[in-house]
Assembly symmetry: D2
Homo-oligomer: 450 residues x 4
């Protein structure tokens, strides 16, 4: 991350936190990296290009760590608790310091988290403009780049019944206005993507909901966004971020396949990709691996919200991703896909409410970075080892013959296949060897990290 001539405003909000360096696996210091060596090569590319870590403004700068049963706990020395413009600008400085010290190269934002909502759109947009300028400056001084931006279309009471899917057309207008401005701010900041998370684009009860109409409204909204992106020359990738529920009872973009179905139904499949979050995948009853593989098979994996849930808990706990098996699975999928293009690994993650110091914020990010760096190494080792891929290839080899290819090219019919089946010997199945394959992953994990 090359620093430009702009000065990083170092107000030293993260006092005592040094510029974080890679110190290798034997270092015990909390404020150090042990696995993530940004310029170390994996499969011929530096780790930083594989991983494209991002920190998100809403958790890092704005999350006070309240929960439904308790008040905020986070220490935020950069924040005076007001919604003044000065406070908003000071947060930008603190974020710049954070990015600079941790060496995280990307970031993400919600419009209403970087700048406050005012009594009128005019006033709101004016203040947003001022903050965006400061963010541009922050980017120049730190070298950080914007992975994606988005508009917060779920927090204000007007959005209680949804934004694009609101029964009130005026709410749709408001949401449209907000997306226009947020998209243009994203473009100005050089953002590589723009995300839609439809937290209230769904229903609380079907008793008061016209599901068919609401999905059409949502599709219309996305079409407007696609057209607008083209009209302003925004070349970043648009993404939808699936989530099954919370706060809604059901969100229309509930998981990867529901979202793909929606995109196909409304002719959006070529315009929008997916930003997949681990904890959303698991809340939907899927593994993250499944959601990634399903999206990749459809050519629709764009970016990743890198966090993890807590097994047994039924809400979005957004923990920092420290599970090495998870990071291995994710990076194996990403490597198999050929790596990210516009996307990256956004830590849409928050510390526990009990980890409330600025230092915890840094430590939590470092823990996630190291876990993903380790996962990347293991994933690359699995690919180099080759046993898993060879097993899968061999397993389907019978389809490489004439018959298999003819069937898949639809050059056969049931009657013919029926006749061929009559001539078959009994089919001897071949073992799927799941336990052996799990053991191979363990073998390689242990070898790759030593």
């Amino acid at each position: 991350m090359a620093a430009s001539c702009d000065t990083v405003r170092m107000a030293d909000f993260f006092a005592g936190v040094p510029s974080i360096a890679f110190k290798g696996p034997d270092c015990n210091e909390p404020l150090a990296l042990r696995q993530y060596d940004a310029s170390a090569l994996v499969e011929g590319r530096p780790m930083r290009d594989h991983l494209r870590f991002a920190s998100c403004y809403w958790h890092t700068m704005r999350n006070g760590l309240s929960d439904p049963f308790g008040a905020p706990t986070a220490q935020m020395p950069w924040d005076d608790g007001t919604d003044s413009l000065d406070n908003a600008l000071r947060r930008v400085d603190a974020f710049g310091e954070f990015l600079s010290k941790t060496g995280i190269g990307f970031w993400c934002f919600h419009d209403r988290d970087v700048a406050p909502e005012r009594d009128s759109l005019v006033a709101t947009e004016r203040d947003l403009h001022t903050v965006i300028e400061r963010l541009e400056s922050m980017q120049r001084s730190t070298g950080a780049r914007l992975l994606w931006g988005t508009a917060c279309l779920f927090s204000h009471p007007r959005y209680m019944h949804g934004a694009a899917t609101s029964p009130d057309v005026r709410v749709f207008l408001h949401a449209a206005a907000q997306v226009r401005v947020a998209m243009e701010a994203t473009m100005r900041l050089g953002g590589e993507g723009y995300v839609f998370w439809g937290g209230r684009e769904g229903y609380t009860t079907l008793l008061n909901t016209d599901l068919r109409r609401e999905r059409e409204q949502l599709a219309t909204f996305l079409h407007l966004a696609v057209v607008h992106a083209r009209s302003i020359g925004f070349t970043g990738q648009l993404y939808i971020e699936p989530k099954p529920h919370e706060p809604s009872t059901h969100q229309y973009d509930s998981d990867v396949e529901a979202t793909l179905n929606f995109l196909r139904e409304f002719g959006l499949i070529n315009h929008v990709k997916l930003n997949i979050e681990t904890n959303h995948a698991t809340l939907a009853g899927h593994s993250m691996e499944h959601e990634l593989r399903a999206a990749i098979a459809a050519g629709a994996l764009g970016s990743i919200d890198a966090n993890m849930g807590t097994p047994g808990l039924g809400w979005d706990t957004d923990r920092f991703p420290t599970d090495l098996a998870l990071t291995t699975q994710v990076m194996l999928a990403v490597l198999d896909m050929g790596g990210f293009t516009t996307g990256g690994l956004n830590f849409d993650a928050k510390r526990r409410r009990e980890s409330f110091t600025p230092e915890d914020l840094v430590i939590a990010h470092l823990a996630g970075m190291d876990a993903f760096a380790a996962g990347l190494k293991v994933a690359a080792a699995i690919r180099k080892d080759g046993r898993l891929a060879a097993f899968v290839r061999d397993r389907y080899s019978s389809w490489q013959g004439d018959l298999g290819r003819r069937i898949l090219s639809r050059g056969a019919n049931l009657a013919e296949l029926h006749r061929l089946a009559h001539d078959l010997e009994a089919v001897e199945p071949v073992s799927g060897r799941q336990e052996m394959l799990e053991d191979i992953v363990n073998q390689i994990t242990i070898r790759a990290l030593r």
Copy 2:
């Protein structure tokens, strides 16, 4: 159900079970109907046309009620425990007696449940043919009609890795052969539909699976079936039955939207509808109501497997549907759709292992029939009352104006909407009134059933 001149083979396997009659809500006899009066009119049509109850051969005739921890318990006086053809034919007689006594007008079957698998396809198909003849005769004598047929592509070890999605092309051949024969048997029996349930069309572990390839194989398989149906003049409806998992870790047709996505991706959306099962919906983390409404919105609801799960249990318990709130929701969706065409309510349900007598089999079906009849009455009363529908209509009324229509017809753009938003007054939300609507449902439920 008009009886024909064929004789119902009444071996009296259900000794002590009389022909079941409607006896009204005050009757305490176990072997009676209290709510389901087949010819009583609801919304101008007889109940039997609304509900189109079916009993399935596999549970009613073949389910011994074993579970993973215990041996079969079911008393089956019609079954000598062998896989002889005689035994298979005797089961047909018993089933005819069951349908005749209960007055259930439709039935469903799996190929391998009506007739045994032999050492060769030739022998298997010969015996199946004989049984199908007996089933035709049974239909004539009882007046029962075939709601749908299907092929069992998951029980035999050859299908352990899937049928259409098997890594072994020979298994695909086998499955193709079986579907051809089962579809033709279904046609011969006048079946109004044909179902695909892909219990093993998925994966146990992604470590050994090429998900993209397997989904293509599955799509090819369905295309073959569509073409074959057309070539033989089968005009019944093809259905996919979604289920998220069990026995697989993930089934490709995991829920309504995953299945719709699959159908759209592979150009099958106009050829295949959905057969939706309550317990599969809930295992997928959805409400049955959601799955029905999602399918209806896509014009894809075909038929229903009428059962229910056990809250808190994570496997398919396939209980008989006795939950009045559930049957109300289902029938409200069906009435809103305009009723079934080819579809119906198939009791894909089994008694508990502890309810092992033939009488329990009858009682369980009657309990489900009465619960659905009550649900139908309540659903019709909700529609007649009109408060729910009016609430939903009014809620979206702002979209009926010029602006709303213009937006939905895509005659607007973000920049314009942004300008309009600037002129908006603050938007005052309107209450969603969920609690009031839930209470209205309770009010009508109580009134409709008295």
Copy 3:
């Protein structure tokens, strides 16, 4: 609810809401009762004595309806948004109006919800005292009685790691002080019970937790409370309210049996009963029916938090209880127990965030009251019908003989039973008839409500 000579301060915060009356099942007005007729007799006692409805201060007066993704929406015309004492007193008036208009006879409170926390305990307790006086006056004027009180030991940041289970002994002191004051306030208000809900008495991660020590701290805390209750002459019942998690990863009082185990282990079983909440039961993976029956079997059911969850959602949605099958199960258990003594049905329930008007607050309570009144009627009808109870009694009749009684009184040994088993004929099982019993419940439900 007899009004005393005190004046109800009727500031008319619930404008447009009349005094709610029972108007019978055919009434369509939203602001009426259709099932709950307070003085109507069921099993010889008026409904009000069976149901003992309570409204809770925290949801009714203080819940702004924010959620983790959105700002508050609730209209609270009685609240000026400050933490002034005047505001706190005005809320008492509003609550009195609410109780008076709805005719709800009991209420519950958290200390910090009725009065604000100040900079010092002295100041906090002084203001609490003033509010308690106003609450006493409110009770006199409305006739409402306090079902139970409690202390909020989870919201303030000091309690982030638990209260009694905090690693910091000073936090334990604080919690002890708060409980002392809250219990004495409860006593002064004539409270019939005092509840402990240990929302953070558990852990977020076992990595930093000494589970054994924390449970001992919790037991010590409860012993202190028991001793204090005795020392001040508080004769109300102490309760623990189980919940498995949220906000904690695991709460030590996770469900009925975990709580009973804790009470037995630490010698508290004779001093503390349970306050069981439906949504907590289901979050723990149990049915409410199970939790009630388990508590009743242990003689430990004290009171009920009457709400319901949303199937498929993994957090505490605290919906108003409008599920008639649920209210039937609950009231059947309560009637079987012999009715409440100190306990009652506290609506620990909140409207949806989209139901934000004061009228919704009233409607939601009425919906819950009517649902429970209907459940009570059905439960009484099930008991009067007698078929369920007779079935269960007959089912175990073999244990009424000599052998059964001798075994249960431990007058036999394995060797003898082994010998007796050798002489047994094959045991013919008897059907459990689950489907018939479910149908009987449906039969009676329909009859009882007409």
Copy 4:
């Protein structure tokens, strides 16, 4: 495992499987151990003494790998498919070969899995006796030891409504007879424990169940077993194995705390310990770590069924434990407890249905053994590193002072603590550092395995 002079009957059922040897982490051969070096020392004791691996007869010898939707697939060259005594004896030989080749030192059995049930108890017991003799011989020849035995009280139809909790006293007799014989067989084989798993000791529906009575029957049954053990001089440990459900809707021994509650209520807490299974823990909504720590805190952890579930699936998948994070947590708990005494790690695990060869059986066990050996190394490294333990110790240090000790010894009262609280300064919380602790576990994991 020292071989005695008895000959292992090596019929070579596991053809091609050599005697498995430790070959170190770089070995790629499937049939080798890479982490488990039986005699290598960890914390001064050989791995074999820490891990005490057991293979269970029911999965290894008897599980045909059927599932509710498919026929058996397992290749069992030792099994002729009959229930002849010869077949039962041949299985013993095959099991001996398996234990001998894999070097697994312990085993477990169900009575009805080692020998068939006959028409009379006399005949059944006679055949069981013959098989037990062969098992004794097998033990002598292989050196394998019996970890525990049990009786299968859930598979036969007579147990459909439960065994000890059956409504039919004659079923109780049968179960008592079976336990007597199984316990004596266990004793004869030198078994170090005896397990009760109450798969049907619960209910399918509460509608037909007297929960209070059934729990008393169950307690009586366990008392009989305790008394019998003493009377015959069986010094092995008795265990209950908790499971929440499946096949039952609710099992009385649903989790660790429910079981402890039961044991305390009925005076059994000093006689029975727990055998905890990972997949049962997770089905109950807990982490395995939680269940272990809860049992250890009560002094009640006896033995472990070492398997794992599949996240997202709601039934007992009983996979071989290959999750390194899980095995680390388990072994850390076991080391913290001081190691097993009578207990061990029983692989109550089955291969996937698609892994049907004898070789898969061996590979699956090896994968589990290596995963646990790796977990043991990491756990020992965590203890040696000391940072986690020190963090926890320091966290509670405020309780080491006079006040803390006085409170815990109950030498204080609420009034005094209230006064002390008034003098407190504001309490500054200390961070819980969860993210740092998770990262430390990752650091040590990586270091320990290289």
